[in-house]
């Protein structure tokens, strides 16, 4: 954290010091978990972060944020054994999962130090040590034996006692488990493990205390090195996957995919050359491709008015038949007006179009449709479009001390505090993206294109008036649409968000400022392009994007069905 800086003191004052340290630890934990298990979708399958106060036997006491476990029973017979499970089962998408337990105290003298570390399925009796029952697995400290769903153990590893750190690693690719002692791997303990096991620890001796590390601290064992090995294995498996029996078939298919992709996105010249050199036919006339290219260029440079006009000229019935599409284009036009980029306001305003006109980076143009394939998760999208997120960050995170400091740095304007209050108030509606905020801080500087002289509609009064007028037209078009075609919540939200821009003195750094980012032109462009193609009976998505989308979908399906190898096969790795 960058600490309290002037201007956000009132925000920090409510945070007591202990919580601050706790937040630090939580931040560490989140960062570590994300680095270790990037393929896990925590909205679907949350990772274990502590022991569960609900899923334990009564002889177990929890403390220190439910990470410390102590025994409070009699500990006289095996009937006094007690276990606790973690809050969540281990998600398969981890690929390789690992946690450590440190023995703080081996318990009172005069007792045999029964203590078990392991895994168990939901519902397994907690009045037992891990390993004794079906779907329960444990490594016991008193004799070093492993217990695989059985009351009798097998010789496995060394014994363990106070001061030792015992790790448990579940390999969800081959469904095995091994333990570590003080950073040394002890070798496979269990095979053929069932899915959805919970980290579990069991005690049976008064005075026994153990601490868990689910990622709160660096691990003693180098688990990342083990993961590297499996990532390499999986990737080698993918690389060596046997393809098509007939020679050239594979190559021809790839060429076809590339060609159709180029055509879809109207890279005329490239498509032409590629088709020629690979001896393929193009299924669309060159003139048609060029038309689409022209329209796309206009949309992507923010000249929406011209884009709409051109579309109407070239494809007369398209927008008439698609009033929702037209509405979307118009809303975008309104946004571009606020931005000062739309042709209608540009000719009025005194603003140089230079900085607005140039669409940032053509590579994104190439990539963008891939990212927009509707099956790709938002998460992926966020990662790939830092420009978008940076604005977002500025907008929503000002209530958090640390990101505020960033925004001060990058934006030379000093922010008057009343405005902050407004931002705070508006934060509530943005909570759905809150999780992404912290992660994106690092990307922050990449995408910033804030400039100090940015003004509404390029700063021209006439342009502002035109914009207001256009807004009214849009409002009536919306009402008209509703009367004609019934309620449409998407349209309603779209319009509301666009109009919200006017509520801020500086829309660019407002919570809704993301709309102004040029990257937001991409979905509009892609939707329009698809609509045009559909009228020509061409696929609205290129096969390449479909394939990528299918692969991503396949991976999330693997995660759901318990195939751990999905952890090390990110589609992203193959796109770069």
């Amino acid at each position: 954290m960058s600490g309290p800086s002037s201007g956000c003191g009132f925000l920090m004052s409510v945070v007591v010091h202990g919580d601050l340290a706790l937040n630090e630890q939580e931040k560490d934990l989140n960062q570590r978990l994300r680095r270790l298990y990037p393929a896990v979708n925590e909205e679907e399958t949350p990772l274990p972060r502590s022991w569960s106060p609900k899923d334990k036997f009564s002889y177990i006491g929890l403390s220190q944020n439910n990470l410390r476990v102590h025994y409070k029973g009699h500990g006289k017979t095996p009937k006094d054994a007690a276990s606790v499970r973690a809050t969540h089962p281990i998600p398969a998408a981890c690929g390789v999962y690992y946690f450590e337990v440190k023995i703080i105290s081996k318990g009172r003298d005069g007792y045999v130090k029964y203590m078990g570390i392991g895994l168990s399925a939901q519902g397994v009796n907690m009045n037992r040590l891990p390993g004794w029952d079906k779907h329960s697995y444990g490594y016991h400290g008193d004799d070093g034996h492993s217990f695989c769903s059985s009351g009798t153990g097998q010789p496995y590893g060394p014994t363990f006692t106070t001061g030792d750190v015992i790790g448990c690693c579940v390999n969800l690719i081959n469904n095995t488990c091994f333990y570590t002692k003080n950073g040394h791997s002890l070798g496979i303990a269990f095979t053929d493990l069932p899915p959805n096991l919970y980290p579990t620890v069991g005690l049976q001796t008064p005075g026994e205390v153990v601490d868990a590390n689910f990622g709160q601290h660096p691990f003693v064992f180098d688990i990342e090195d083990y993961m590297r090995e499996w990532r390499t294995k999986i990737q080698a498996q993918i690389d060596r996957f046997p393809i098509g029996e007939r020679e050239g078939e594979w190559q021809a298919m790839i060429q076809k995919m590339v060609a159709s992709y180029l055509v879809h996105h109207s890279y005329c010249a490239t498509a032409e050359v590629f088709a020629k050199s690979t001896d393929q036919a193009v299924h669309e006339e060159l003139a048609s491709i060029k038309n689409r290219q022209k329209i796309q260029k206009l949309v992507l440079s923010g000249r929406m008015g011209e884009a709409i006009e051109t579309t109407q000229q070239l494809y007369p019935s398209l927008l008439e038949l698609n009033p929702d599409l037209l509405f979307m284009l118009k809303v975008r036009q309104f946004i571009e007006m606020v931005n000062g980029t739309d042709s209608e306001v540009r000719c009025l305003g005194g603003r140089s179009p230079k900085s607005q006109d140039s669409y940032p980076g053509s590579p994104r143009l190439f990539n963008s449709p891939v990212h927009k394939a509707n099956v790709i998760t938002d998460h992926l999208h966020f990662l790939l479009s830092p420009g978008f997120d940076s604005n977002y960050c500025n907008g929503v995170s000002s209530s958090k001390g640390h990101t505020l400091a960033h925004s001060h740095k990058s934006c030379p304007r000093t922010m008057p505090s009343p405005e902050l209050g407004v931002l705070n108030g508006s934060r509530g509606q943005q909570t759905n993206v809150g999780a992404e905020v912290e992660m994106e801080v690092d990307h922050f500087s990449n995408g910033v294109f804030l400039c100090s002289k940015r003004q509404l509609c390029g700063g021209s009064q006439a342009a502002i008036e035109r914009m207001i007028q256009f807004g009214r037209e849009l409002q009536s078009m919306s009402e008209h649409l509703r009367r004609e075609r019934g309620k449409n919540s998407a349209n309603k939200k779209m319009l509301k968000d666009a109009f919200s821009l006017l509520a801020y003195s500086d829309p660019w750094i407002s919570p809704v400022g993301y709309q102004l980012d040029s990257i937001r032109r991409e979905p509009v462009c892609s939707t329009l392009n698809s609509a045009i193609l559909e009228t020509h009976n061409l696929p609205k998505q290129p096969p390449l994007a479909l394939a990528v989308g299918q692969a991503a979908q396949c991976l999330s399906l693997m995660a759901r069905t318990g195939s751990g190898s999905c952890a090390f096969a990110s589609v992203d790795d193959y796109l770069h």
Binding site: G157, P158, K181, G183, H184, S185, L186, G187, I188, D222, D225, Y226, R228, E229, R231, T232
Partner: protein, 631 residues
């Protein structure tokens, strides 16, 4: 020619037979030839070298090496690279004498200067170094020509091949070389310590060869004392990496190298042995090394059977070596090893394998396990390991004999149940012959085994030992230049001269020679330990009934005892006092005369003085002796 020979060994051989090599070399050396021609010549020669070992021999016989080395003096990089490529191919062949790289002292510095010229010069030159550094002398030559400083930056080269060859260079340079190892720890590559660079090369996503070679480098640095054994890069990185190399997933060659390197790494350190013993089931993982060729491989395909057969010996000896290293200190680990499936049977059959390497490793393993009292009493006896061990001792090269006889020493310990059957097998003659060996280690082991054998033995055995060894040999051993031999010989004498009847019996037949030998040692320049042992022998003699007269009638000897009672070393005083105490012991015949004689010689005064000694043992001993006079 170039196109004709590529990939065709027959054509290569044909060209060589037709005398192409001298002609090519002639053209290559002609400075009047165009550079293109000379380069093509080097390329063709390089291609010929890629063929069979016979090809290489022919090329070397035609003095290709000096010609190519001469070519390196040219300024043209393309030509230099062609020469280096060919040199590399020639030098990495096992039939090429590596010494040829060192005959001209200007070659190494010149290669060092060429090193950084291009990616290819880096790769070829480091590969040549890695293959031609076989002796400490080679290491020194390369070291003195700044090999470390020149090669270290190549460890972060963008080329995989260059990195790999540079790494190999360091492993051969550091092997058993303290100077190199000590220098290596202080080398920085791009601001990073070399050991950390090696650690990164051991990451699990790196090629196996790289992981293994990096682990070797760190192992050698550790064994040379440049890195502590408790350093994290050894305990948490190198050791687990080497254990991984022993796993079933690795190639047979890698498993052999991994096991051998690991054995070497932890040999002197019990903590590393303990950690390795519980890492990844190493002990049972090694049992798999004995399953080649497997029954499956014989059925499925001939090629694999051939491959397995070729590596079977290597695998077995590597496993034995690693077991030996694992079990060399810790009793629990030894127990774990002996409890591994069929372990003792495997050792027993290993002892009589045809491969010398396997026999040696098996006996090393047995030796390591024989340090356990419990194993000697149980598994060693159950499996009658003494039988193949005895057989091995009949006819084996010295290095095997040293290990085998050392193991035998342990098997002959008094509590070992194998002692009896070994005695019955005529071991005494064998051990006596070992004492005549030129190797000090064998002489020590031979006499040591005899010493153990004589401990609390029957008179029959003792007589047999004395007879078989012969007094002449016994006295020769007493003047052995090796102190260990001398000490164990004295130990043998002391064990022979225990219990009264034995003392008298032996002294009656060999008394004169023994007394002579004792005199000689007490008069000679020897360590305190040797003299103490000798005085103890004298004390044993003094305990005999008739034997003590040999001392009583020898005034010179009595003077010597007197001298040692007043020696500055307490141990010697104690032994000498013990001797006198035996001489004046009351309950025996003629004790009065002996007491009188010794009193006259002034021993009582000395004893009296010793009762005031600061050492409590000596004080007690003197008091006990004085009591004999009072009674």
């Amino acid at each position: 020619m170039k196109n004709a020979v590529i990939g065709n060994n027959k054509q290569k051989a044909n060209l060589i037979v037709l005398g192409a090599v001298p002609r090519l070399l002639y053209l290559l050396q002609q400075s009047s030839s165009s550079l293109e021609l000379r380069t093509e010549c080097a390329v063709v020669l390089g291609s010929l070298a890629m063929g069979t070992e016979n090809n290489i021999k022919s090329l070397v016989d035609c003095h290709i090496i000096p010609a190519l080395l001469q070519g390196l003096l040219c300024s043209d990089l393309i030509f230099i690279e062609a020469c280096l490529r060919c040199l590399r191919t020639v030098f990495i062949s096992p039939v090429t004498p590596v010494q040829l790289l060192y005959t001209d002292p200007t070659v190494i510095p010149h290669l060092m200067s060429l090193l950084s010229r291009s990616r290819h010069t880096k790769e070829y030159i480091t590969q040549i170094f890695a293959h031609c550094c076989k002796t400490p002398e080679h290491q020194t030559v390369l070291f003195n020509h700044s090999a470390i400083q020149n090669i270290a930056p190549l460890l972060i080269s963008p080329s995989d091949k260059v990195r790999m060859q540079a790494l190999k260079c360091f492993s051969v340079l550091a092997y058993e070389n303290t100077q190199v190892s000590m220098t290596l720890v202080n080398v920085l590559v791009d601001g990073e310590q070399l050991s950390q660079v090696f650690v990164r090369m051991m990451q699990r996503d790196k090629p196996i060869e790289m992981q293994l070679t990096a682990a070797k480098c760190l192992t050698y640095m550790c064994r040379a004392g440049a890195i502590r054994t408790d350093d994290n890069c050894i305990i948490l990185k190198t050791l687990p990496c080497l254990v991984r190399m022993c796993s079933k997933e690795r190639l047979l060659e890698e498993r052999v190298e991994g096991a051998e390197t690991l054995a070497y790494l932890m040999e002197p350190d019990v903590e590393l042995q303990r950690i390795a013993s519980f890492t990844d089931h190493l002990v049972s993982m090694l049992a798999d090394y004995f399953k080649y060729p497997s029954s499956v491989s014989a059925i499925t395909d001939i090629k694999r059977l051939d491959h397995d057969l070729k590596h079977a010996h290597e695998l077995r000896q590597a496993a034995f070596k690693l077991y030996a290293s694992l079990g060399s200190n810790d009793e629990d680990i030894r127990k774990k090893i002996t409890e591994t499936e069929n372990m003792m049977d495997r050792i027993v059959s290993g002892l009589s394998e045809s491969s010398i390497k396997v026999r040696l490793a098996a006996v090393r393993c047995l030796h390591s396990l024989s340090r356990s009292v419990q194993q000697l009493r149980t598994s060693f006896h159950d499996h009658a390991v003494w039988k193949p061990l005895m057989k091995l001792l009949q006819n084996a090269p010295d290095e095997v004999l040293v290990m085998a006889s050392s193991t035998l020493c342990n098997l002959l310990l008094e509590f070992s149940p194998s002692k009896e059957p070994i005695l019955d097998s005529g071991v005494i003659e064998l051990l006596c012959s070992l004492t005549q060996s030129d190797s000090p280690a064998l002489r020590v082991n031979g006499i040591w085994a005899l010493m153990n054998m004589a401990f609390q033995a029957d008179q029959k055995v003792k007589v047999e030992i004395v007879r078989a060894l012969g007094t002449e040999q016994l006295f020769r051993l007493l003047s052995d230049p090796d102190t260990n031999v001398l000490m164990k010989t004295l130990g043998l004498l002391r064990n022979l001269l225990s219990t009264r009847p034995h003392i008298d019996q032996i002294m009656s037949s060999h008394g004169k020679q023994i007394m002579q030998a004792v005199t000689l040692i007490l008069e000679g320049e020897h360590s305190i330990e040797v003299k103490e042992q000798t005085l103890c022998i004298l004390a044993n003699i003094a305990d005999g009934n008739t034997a003590k007269e040999l001392i009583m009638t020898n005034d010179d000897m009595l003077q010597k005892i007197k001298y040692y009672m007043g020696h500055s070393n307490v141990k010697l005083q104690l032994a000498a006092t013990f001797c006198i105490s035996n001489l004046i012991w009351n309950e025996e015949d003629g004790s009065q005369e002996r007491q009188d004689k010794l009193k006259d010689m002034g021993f009582v005064d000395i004893l009296h003085k010793l009762t005031q000694a600061s050492d409590p043992n000596l004080c007690d001993r003197a008091k006990t002796a004085m009591q004999q006079y009072l009674a």
